[in-house]
């Protein structure tokens, strides 16, 4: 079970959060068209290694957190708020 360090609430169990998916995607502009939106809605990478994901603290402060998690070890590199710059491990920059 993940223990996610929420910047507002401290370290909390994963069961308090709702997974909201890939945090590396950017919503296309309104006029970007079908293809761009199809990619945004349906296409996902399945990385082995570090991955940025949205976790919504539904049973806590209700903040959306950008959690950089290792998909193999489950190690958490960083937890940032959406308006903050993403903190990505060096090897991915």
């Amino acid at each position: 079970m993940l223990r996610i360090p929420c910047p507002h609430c401290g370290v909390r169990d994963e069961t308090e959060f709702r997974y909201r998916g890939d945090a590396t995607l950017t919503r296309p502009a309104a006029d970007a068209g079908d293809t761009a939106f199809t990619r945004y809605v349906y296409e996902r990478n399945n990385p082995k290694g570090w991955h940025a994901e949205w976790w919504l603290h539904v049973a806590g402060c209700r903040a959306v957190l950008r959690v950089v998690r290792h998909t193999v070890t489950h190690g958490i590199h960083s937890v940032t708020l959406p308006h903050e710059p993403a903190d990505i491990p060096v090897e991915l920059r």
């Binding site: 079970m1 223990r3 309104a30 079908d34 939106f37 809605v41 193999v72 489950h74």
Partner: protein, 979 residues
């Protein structure tokens, strides 16, 4: 005289208090401190079960949870609990247990014929054989196989929810798993560093290997005395860590000592969910068997298990015993056995030399070095062994007990769950784990360390490493109890298999032999994970702990590669069988699925409501205990003719405020809300980004930058989450605040032609005249003297209002409205009547908002904005959601008004009766006409309006003609709502 017997007093049953128990209908006498296994052995019971596939007689093989054979069914106050290892079942007065997988009895098992047929029952037999005819599977093969195979019988758990069990959440600095020498020393060292420690061990008696060596008893006692008095340390015996879940989270099953009769207020099992900053895996090791012909006969046991029965329980596993070993550890059993006066015929050691052999010879024992046992002989039990000595001479040794020791395998399951790498350690011929220091340390035998004293040092060293990782000063303990020194040791010599004619088992519980492993390899199942699944090697309840590695070594030899290259299958949680009741813990009934009660729940109950579950909510369905249609239709017709009031408090309610609130609502709704005037409401339709309808509700503008939106009851939480997600990730800099006020406001719909007349009597501050407060108006108002909100919205299709007051005034306001309104004709109505009213009006709910319908499918496309951006805007316009063949919302009505409709009924064209064109989503008897009306999702439905189709429900043997009509069965011109 042959067989096992009690020869003295053991360390675990020193009080020798007699305990009565029953096994297979016979009463026996054991001692307090016995396990069922030790008590059976003490009573000379050698055969305790039949094997899974061949129904071979099996005895007690081990003395712990790794037991493959001695599984019993315990019959207690909660029914039959199958597959309990007799080796871990602590005896109590009145225990009743039964052997398993035998019919009609353990002694005479008619299905033992499978053993005779075994050459026709190789691995993969079932996959290959019972293939044809397919129909025979269900009626012949499967019942036959189920009867013949399997272990204990499961009892339908009608009372399962009554088995008391608890879940506990606990935090600590370090979880030390295993209370052997390494665990004990690690725990004491960590506490000296000021760390809080939980020391968990599966055994009743803490100490691991130190309990079995009398020289170590003083050290063990001193350590336990120190640790018990230590406020930083919690000692948890009878606690098995069943899984490691990462991030310092562990699950552990903690049991109390059983007793006969109902548990009363004792909770037999607690699931401990432990969160720790670090961990010490001092999980020890498990002795492994040697694969040789006859190695499953009753009378064969592991040498370490025998030591435990001797020292712990004063029980000798046989009268004439031979030991077959490839390592030094088995010599302890020989020496201890001889010291207690139980004969050891010989020690057969595959190695040429070891100091332990010298010491044994010095003590008068016979050791055949460089020798092996080629076969264990016997039909019903061990009778003799055939030995081949160093010179190649063969001779037969008559014995009644064979003790095997193929070496020690570190218990690595938890480490691998924590992503540890496994490294081959040739000194012990087994894998040892490399665990990241950020997660914790492995110590003692689990770490590949041999010898108790070495394990003590390894435990201390693990504690030092943890202190360092956590940034603490080095640990100094001046008065650490002095441990005895380890005797000089020689390494083992790997010995996996003695090949020869006859069955040599690697997995006793699943009857997997060395021949099965080789067969799997020949048939292409070469990878260790494939071999495991093909043969089921290691897939039984004991997870192949005593023979797993042996099977992998046999596979390695067959493949001609090194065992290190074969690897290990991944061990997943749980480490041992866990009762479902323990996993459920206290989370049963309302603790599992809580009930949400409306603010008016007690009023509804007092007024005879029948309730319905709507999600977690309990909503009044109808104010009658008769839930037939009559009472519902009375309520619905009353609303159409006069006026009704209903509780809609379970709707989600979210306040949206801030200078960007209007822009935000334009983004999250498909229709425009920024143009909404203050004091007005508007229907709002939310899409998902894929263009499918997500939810609907009303939006009221309470101020320039202040909106109140409602959601469906079912989606209240999901909508809030959806809004928060988009607010924070798409427009984090916008000035928008979302406040969930769902529980703060009670809300009632007052509907019907007389609703204005009724409300005029209780509303202050708002002129209800039609032009002053028209359809879709919103305002603050005093309702029955309470400050609240008033909306002129209608779900029923009648002139209607919704009033909202703070939830704590719900009962007061509701009662006042009813008292005032009753003389004017106001009556309460429930959810069923509400549903009748909305179906007639063609309003949609979750039956139509089913996650597959687009705005166009529901006839709502004209609401959508054609400019600007909103969630779902682009993909709602994609061709797949526009083209022909979509299921569209229509109304449906039986041609013969005597016929009823049913939800889920399929609509078909009588000329093409095998194709479903759609289905009825909601239906009801009509209030103002004869017969039923319904809503349906129908293929190209709008162009079918006016057609006749068949409504078919094969489940009810029904098929009758229906007419496709507009979904607006009632008042399509909206005259009533605007009245």
């Amino acid at each position: 005289m042959t067989g096992p017997t009690r020869i003295g007093t053991g360390f675990f049953d020193q009080s020798a208090t007699p305990v009565h128990f029953r096994f297979d209908g016979q009463t026996y006498l054991g001692r307090d401190g016995d396990t069922l296994a030790s008590a059976l052995l003490a009573n000379g019971v050698q055969v305790v079960g039949r094997s899974f596939k061949f129904h071979r007689r099996r005895g007690i093989y081990t003395a712990g949870p790794e037991e493959p054979s001695a599984l019993v069914t315990v019959i207690g106050p909660y029914g039959r609990e199958p597959n309990r290892p007799a080796t871990t079942l602590v005896l109590y007065d009145g225990l009743v247990a039964e052997s398993q997988n035998r019919w009609p009895s353990l002694r005479v098992d008619l299905l033992a014929v499978f053993g005779r047929l075994s050459r026709f029952l190789p691995a993969g037999f079932y996959y290959k054989t019972f293939m044809w005819p397919a129909a025979a599977w269900e009626r012949v093969y499967e019942p036959l196989i189920r009867r013949a195979a399997g272990l204990g019988r499961h009892q339908a758990a009608t009372n399962a929810h009554k088995i008391p069990a608890a879940t506990a959440q606990v935090h600590t600095d370090v979880l030390v798993i295993g209370a052997g020498p390494a665990g004990l020393s690690a725990a004491l060292s960590l506490s000296a560093a000021g760390l809080r420690v939980i020391l968990a061990d599966q055994d009743e008696h803490l100490g691991g290997g130190t309990t079995l060596d009398p020289d170590w008893h003083p050290w063990r006692a001193a350590m336990l005395e120190r640790l018990s008095a230590d406020p930083l340390v919690r000692l948890w015996p009878r606690t098995t860590v069943i899984g490691a879940y990462g991030h310092g989270v562990f699950g552990a099953l903690q049991t109390t000592r059983r007793r006969a009769g109902p548990a009363g207020d004792i909770v037999p099992e607690t699931l401990q969910i432990i969160r720790a900053a670090s961990t010490v895996l001092a999980t020890g090791c498990v002795e492994r068997l040697i694969a040789l012909p006859g190695n499953d006969l009753p009378g064969v046991m592991l040498a370490g298990a025998a030591l435990r029965y001797l020292v712990g329980h004063g029980v000798a596993p046989g009268h004439r015993t031979v030991i077959f070993t490839n390592n030094d550890d088995a010599y302890a059993t020989a020496v201890e056995s001889r010291r207690r006066g139980s004969a050891i015929e010989a020690i057969v050691d595959v190695r040429e030399y070891s100091p332990a052999a010298d010491r044994a010879r010095g003590a008068g024992l016979t050791v055949y070095a460089g020798a092996k046992i080629e076969a264990i002989l016997g039909e019903r039990a061990v009778r003799a062994v055939r030995v081949r000595d160093r010179e190649g001479q063969r001779f037969t040794l008559p014995v009644d007990c064979v003790l095997l020791s193929g070496g020690q395998t570190p218990a690595t399951a938890l480490a691998t769950q924590l992503s540890a790498d496994l490294r081959w350690n040739s000194a012990i011929a087994a894998f040892t784990p490399d665990l990241s220091p950020m997660i914790g340390q492995v110590a003692g035998a689990a770490h590949g360390v041999c010898g108790l004293s070495a394990a003590v040092e390894d435990g201390q060293s693990a504690a030092q490493q943890i202190a360092q990782t956590l940034g603490l000063r080095p640990i100094v303990i001046s008065d650490f109890p002095t441990a005895p020194a380890d005797a000089p040791r020689a390494d083992l010599e790997p010995c996996w298999e003695i090949a020869g004619p006859g069955k040599a088992f690697v997995d006793l519980q699943h009857d997997v032999t060395t021949a099965d492993i080789r067969l799997a390899r020949r048939e292409g199942y070469e990878h260790v994970e494939h071999m495991k699944r093909y043969t089921t090697h290691g897939m039984a309840t004991d997870q192949g702990r005593i023979g797993g590695l042996v099977g992998h070594a046999v596979l390695a030899t067959a493949r001609g590669i090194d065992i290190a290259a074969v690897g290990q299958p991944r061990a997943r949680p749980f480490l041992e069988s866990v009762p479902l009741a323990a996993l459920a813990g206290g989370e049963t009934g309302e603790h599992f699925k809580p009930k949400r009660r409306l603010p008016l729940h007690d009023w509804h109950t007092a007024h005879g409501a029948s309730f319905v579950n709507a999600g977690l909510w309990l909503r009044p369905l109808v104010y009658s205990h008769d839930t037939g249609w009559d009472a519902v239709m009375d309520e619905a017709r009353h609303v159409r003719r006069e006026a009704g009031i209903t509780d809609v408090s379970s709707l989600g309610k979210i306040e949206v405020a801030g200078s960007d609130a209007a822009a935000f609502l334009d983004f999250v709704y498909a229709n425009r809300l920024s143009t909404l005037a203050m004091g007005r409401c508007r229907y709002g339709l939310m899409l998902r980004e894929d263009g499918i309808v997500f939810d609907d509700g009303t939006v009221a503008r309470l101020g320039k930058d202040h909106f109140l939106l409602t959601t469906t009851t079912a989606n209240a939480a999901a909508v809030l989450e959806h809004l928060e997600f988009h607010r924070q990730t798409i427009y984090p800099h916008w000035d928008v605040t979302l406040t969930d006020v769902g529980d703060h406001w009670a809300q009632f719909a007052v509907a019907g032609p007389l609703s204005r007349t009724v409300l005029t009597e209780v509303i202050e501050g708002v002129d209800l005249a039609n032009d002053a407060f028209p359809f879709m108006a919103a305002a603050g108002a005093r309702i029955a003297g309470v400050p609240g909100r008033l909306f002129r919205i209608s779900f029923s299709g009648e002139l209607a209002y919704e009033v909202a007051v703070p939830a704590r005034y719900a009962r007061e306001v509701w009662s006042r409205i009813l008292e005032t309104g009753a003389p004017l004709g106001l009556k309460p109505y429930g959810l069923d009547a509400l549903n009748t009213l909305r179906i007639e009006k063609g309003h949609i709910t979750s039956a139509e908002l089913n996650g597959q319908t687009s705005a166009r499918d529901l006839g709502l496309e004209r609401l959508g904005k054609t400019d600007g951006d909103h969630i779902g805007a682009t993909l709602a316009r994609r061709p797949a959601l526009q083209g022909a063949g979509r299921l569209e919302l229509v109304g449906v009505r039986p041609v013969d008004s005597e016929q009823r409709l049913r939800n889920g009924t399929h609509l078909i064209d009588p000329d093409a009766p095998t194709t479903s064109l759609g289905y009825v989503t909601s239906c009801t008897p009509a209030t103002e006409q004869v017969g039923w009306v319904g809503l349906a999702l129908l293929n190209d439905g709008r162009i079918r309006i006016g057609q006749r189709l068949l409504a078919v429900s094969p489940l009810h043997h029904e098929s009758h003609a229906v007419e496709i009509v507009s979904p607006h069965h009632l008042d399509p011109e909206n005259r009533r709502v605007r009245a």
